[in-house]
């Protein structure tokens, strides 16, 4: 006997159910197929190629009119089911007709989630879900100079962006998270993807919040961002996620949570109603990828036929191609204990691979650029294969397993003579060997003669291996000290590459320089943070989590975990009011010790972490700011009283010191910078052991640099003599900027001076006036972003909570 089956929704899941049904139970069902869209089943996944123009709609239809007709399916397309009456066992069509059923399959899919931004209901604000949306975007391509904004940097958003860009539309992607596709990719892969999209002319804004959509005459005109920036657009596509479409099921009184609840047989809480696809929830999980949907379709068809079958969720791998960029992610690359990473990066080819291991098993993989081994890794994850034996070469894929050579020299020896060793300069193995036979005995000789490894330096190890092979025992690998164990590159290599390759984020540096770790270490992260901050002022966002505790907390940590607080005293000058405020703060916060520092200010020692924002607020209220006594930056400008009071004073040393401190405070430098201004050669402010010291004389100012009185005692060298205070400021800014740009992190000014030579500094800062001016300009440009009192910032509510414990369970215990 033929039974009545009503299928609601003609998406990819229901199409597959129908196929199974007619194949395994021909003639058993009288099928009515409803679809809210005015068409039958098509491959929604292929909308992107339609958008980009690679395919037509006709090519992505999976079931055409003839298919339905042959199987006697009654098609009711463009009709949205009004309701299901479970008591009467009828489905009510929108025109009110009542259709009796034996079984119902709900496959209503999902609804695009629209962020309720002001203006989201304007004409021209669309999701990316169906053919209508696609056609809308395609239509925009014919208008010259058309602009579109896509909100959402997930797969769907990027496909919309790439498709529109392929049609000549000027596209900007706005993504709220720090990197693209954060659910499938980690930061490094997200960075590579962003770069590839930017190469295609798409503007990508990550970490960006939208404020409202602006319209004109009821039509979208622009997207306004949180910071007030307006992105003009003719179309705004919101692709921020989907929600299971549960309205009909909920209305029918079925069990619904996030999605329609189904059991392993795809049955809802009503045994005559099945559900599958993006609208369901199974064991707490909802579904967005096509593979599990097809599994569900098979189970649903078998359940309808009365056979026992059970849906078992499987480990799902995502292999994606976004605008020709190969991506792969599988398994779990977050959450859990005892995991290890294996990271491989090939900067010149833009490849990134990361494997996540737990014990002897591979549990996750992320790949970008070269995803050829993805299926193999996915297999290892699914089968829970023990990978202990192949762990060392695992990342190189299946081709490398079994009898692989482990001697790197043998691998280099096996390279043909025309194998390219240095990708930047196109130098092959034989060219290096020729140079060596011609007398080049050191790495720098080879670099000078062939240019191999002279650009980005990532092939240095390979060049050295060629040398070791050619020279035999006569070659000793040079010991250049790498920045840290995460990279073979030196501090100077990395600084050079940051500028040369315009690397503006930590993820960019780690990828392009081939970092071997996922997110660096406690040694390289603070250095990179400084280099990026110094080289890209106003562009790079300071990263608190890459700073040592003192700079993150804006206080010096003491051995018992308390902090010391030092307010700035410009040029060592204070007032009775300031002293009173300091005394009050010392009482109020039970400061253990009050000490006068060597830099002419007052140190409040023993402040508890949770009191820091309050004591800062109190000191701020009295007009004081952070003395930055913790910073790799300007500490103090020590002064004597000069002509104000002293009978020997030749200039206003106090006033000049204050001017210098006001100009230079807030700047970050490779290591701490201390300055002093003495009013006469008696040098009471001890200028000759400071990083920059000024000694006033009748005729002007003698500028000293490169002194220190700490771990090493170093007297200064004289840089030059100038005539006016303005010149003192310009020369000081210039020499500090040169130091900022050229020194390695944590290298004091005197060490940098030893390395580059005093002559070089004099040439750049004194002899060459244009160079000096340019350095000073760059310094003051950076200061525009740096001169903000960190205390004032951190007493704001959004920062305050970070100083308090996350939870206090002792209160509970005391009850």
């Amino acid at each position: 006997m033929t039974r009545n089956l009503i299928v609601i929704g003609a998406g990819m899941a229901s199409g597959r159910v129908l196929e199974h049904l007619f194949e395994t139970q021909p003639g058993a069902w009288n099928v009515t197929l409803f679809n809210a869209e005015p068409r039958g089943n098509y491959n929604r996944l292929m909308l992107s190629p339609v958008l980009s123009g690679d395919k037509t709609y006709a090519e992505i239809v999976t079931h055409d009119a003839a298919w339905y007709e042959e199987r006697g399916v009654t098609c009711r397309f463009g009709e949205k089911v009004a309701r299901i009456d479970r008591g009467a066992k009828i489905v009510v069509a929108p025109d009110g007709t009542e259709l009796p059923y034996d079984k119902v399959v709900i496959a209503t899919g999902s609804n695009p989630f629209m962020i309720p931004l002001p203006g989201h209901d304007l004409d021209g604000v669309i999701p990316y879900r169906d053919l209508e949306d696609t056609e809308r975007m395609m239509g925009l391509g014919s208008a010259p100079g058309a602009r579109a904004v896509v909100i959402g940097g997930g797969l769907l958003g990027l496909e919309a962006a790439a498709g529109m860009a392929a049609r000549g539309i000027d596209v900007t992607v706005v993504h709220i998270m720090g990197h693209l596709m954060e659910r499938q990719l980690d930061e490094a892969a997200g960075y590579l993807l962003k770069k590839a999209l930017e190469d295609k002319g798409i503007t990508v804004l990550t970490g960006t919040n939208s404020k409202q959509i602006l319209g004109e005459g009821g039509k979208v005109r622009a997207l306004e961002l949180d910071d007030g920036t307006e992105l003009p657009c003719d179309l705004l596509c919101m692709a921020v996620g989907i929600r299971p479409n549960v309205a009909l099921a909920k209305d029918a009184g079925l069990a619904v949570a996030k999605g329609i609840h189904v059991d392993d047989q795809m049955l809802t809480s009503d045994a005559d109603i099945l559900a599958l696809g993006e609208c369901v929830e199974h064991q707490g999980a909802i579904f967005g990828l096509v593979a599990p949907l097809y599994d569900q379709a098979k189970v649903a068809a078998e359940t309808l036929g009365g056979t026992q079958a059970a849906f078992v969720p499987k480990e799902v791998a995502t292999k994606l191609k976004v605008t020709g960029c190969d991506l792969f992610s599988a398994g779990d690359f977050a959450e859990g204990d005892g995991r290890d990473d294996i990271v491989f990066r090939d900067p010149s080819r833009g490849i990134y691979k990361r494997l996540v291991l737990e014990g002897e098993r591979l549990i996750g993989a992320v790949m970008y650029g070269d995803t050829g081994d993805g299926a193999w890794f996915h297999g290892l994850i699914k089968d829970r294969t023990d990978v202990t034996e192949m762990r060392d070469t695992l990342i190189f894929g299946p081709a490398f397993q079994g009898g692989a050579q482990s001697d790197p020299l043998a691998a280099v020896a096996a390279l043909p003579a025309d194998a390219e060793i240095c990708g930047c300069n196109g130098i092959c193995k034989s060219a290096i060997q020729t140079a060596i036979k011609g007398g080049a005995a050191t790495l720098s000789d080879v670099r000078a003669q062939t240019k191999a490894s002279a650009s980005c330096g990532t092939c240095t190890g390979l060049v050295e291996q060629v040398m070791a092979l050619t020279l035999g025992d006569g070659f000793e690998v040079q010991t250049v000290k790498p920045m840290c164990p995460c990279t073979p590159l030196t501090h100077m290599d990395v600084r050079r590459l940051i500028k040369a390759k315009a690397l503006k984020s930590m993820a960019a540096v780690m990828q392009e320089c081939g970092w071997t770790t996922l997110c660096g270490c406690a040694s390289c992260r603070p250095a990179l943070n400084y280099y990026l901050l110094c080289d890209w002022p106003g562009e790079y966002q300071d990263d608190d989590q890459s700073r040592f505790v003192n700079e993150r907390m804006h206080s010096n940590i003491q051995k018992d975990g308390t902090y010391s607080v030092v307010p700035r005293m410009w040029g060592g000058i204070t007032t009775a009011d300031e002293l009173r405020a300091i005394a009050d703060a010392a009482d109020k916060y039970k400061v253990q010790t009050v000490k006068v520092t060597g830099g002419q200010r007052i140190d409040l020692l023993g402040v508890k972490k949770q009191d820091l924002p309050d004591i800062w607020a109190d000191l701020n209220a009295a007009g004081m700011v952070s003395g930055q006594a913790y910073a790799k930056g300007l500490r103090t400008v020590k002064t004597c009283v000069g002509t104000d009071h002293c009978r020997f004073g030749t200039q206003d040393s106090t006033g000049l010191g204050i001017r210098m401190e006001k100009a230079l405070w807030g700047s970050w430098t490779p290591a701490k910078v201390k300055m002093a201004v003495s009013g006469c050669p008696r040098n009471c402010a001890e200028s000759t052991c400071k990083d920059v010291g000024v000694i006033c004389v009748d005729s002007g100012y003698i500028l000293h640099i490169g002194g220190a009185a700490g771990l090493h005692i170093k007297g200064t060298e004289v840089m030059c003599t100038v005539k006016t205070e303005d010149e003192v400021l310009e020369y000081t800014a210039a020499v500090v900027q040169l130091y900022r740009e050229e020194a390695a992190y944590l290298e004091r000014m005197y060490k940098w001076m030893d390395n580059v030579g005093l002559d070089h500094i004099i040439e750049r800062v004194v002899t060459d006036a244009d160079s000096r001016k340019a350095l000073a300009d760059r310094f003051y440009y950076a200061q525009r972003f740096m001169q903000q009192d960190p205390w004032a910032e951190r007493t704001k509510p959004e920062y305050r909570e970070l100083y308090a414990p996350l939870a206090d369970l002792t209160l509970e215990a005391a009850e």
Partner: protein, 111 residues
């Protein structure tokens, strides 16, 4: 027996950062890694008691802010040439909330 206690939102801890939980048995540092993994260990470094919650978090390790001892967040073991360890506590994330197993941390109250 486990005693899962909600101690706050995942988003309350900065990525590659830590926050403290005060308990009757001392302070516990709860870390969030770059991959949004969560770990809980004693806040005191086995070397000289430095507050580990203030250290730089890299991979699944933290470097003590006082003298740079590196400790694994998952095992609590000191890395490299150093020896020593800190206690670790079971912790998990559910629906954006951090749950800490306080069973061992409340023992002080019962005793």
């Amino acid at each position: 027996m486990s005693d899962w206690t909600d101690i706050g939102a995942l988003s309350a801890i900065p990525e590659r950062g830590a926050r403290l939980v005060k308990t009757a048995m001392g302070c516990v540092a709860v870390f969030r890694t770059v991959d949004d993994e969560i770990f809980a260990i004693d806040d005191a470094c086995p070397h000289k008691g430095g507050p580990l919650s203030e250290g730089i978090v890299h991979g699944r390790s933290v470097t003590c802010p006082l003298h740079n001892m590196v400790l694994r967040l998952d095992t609590g073991l000191a890395q490299g040439a150093d020896e020593g360890s800190v206690a670790t506590y079971p912790v998990r994330v559910e629906a954006g909330r951090i749950l800490l197993d306080t069973e061992r941390l409340r023992r002080g109250r019962v005793a």
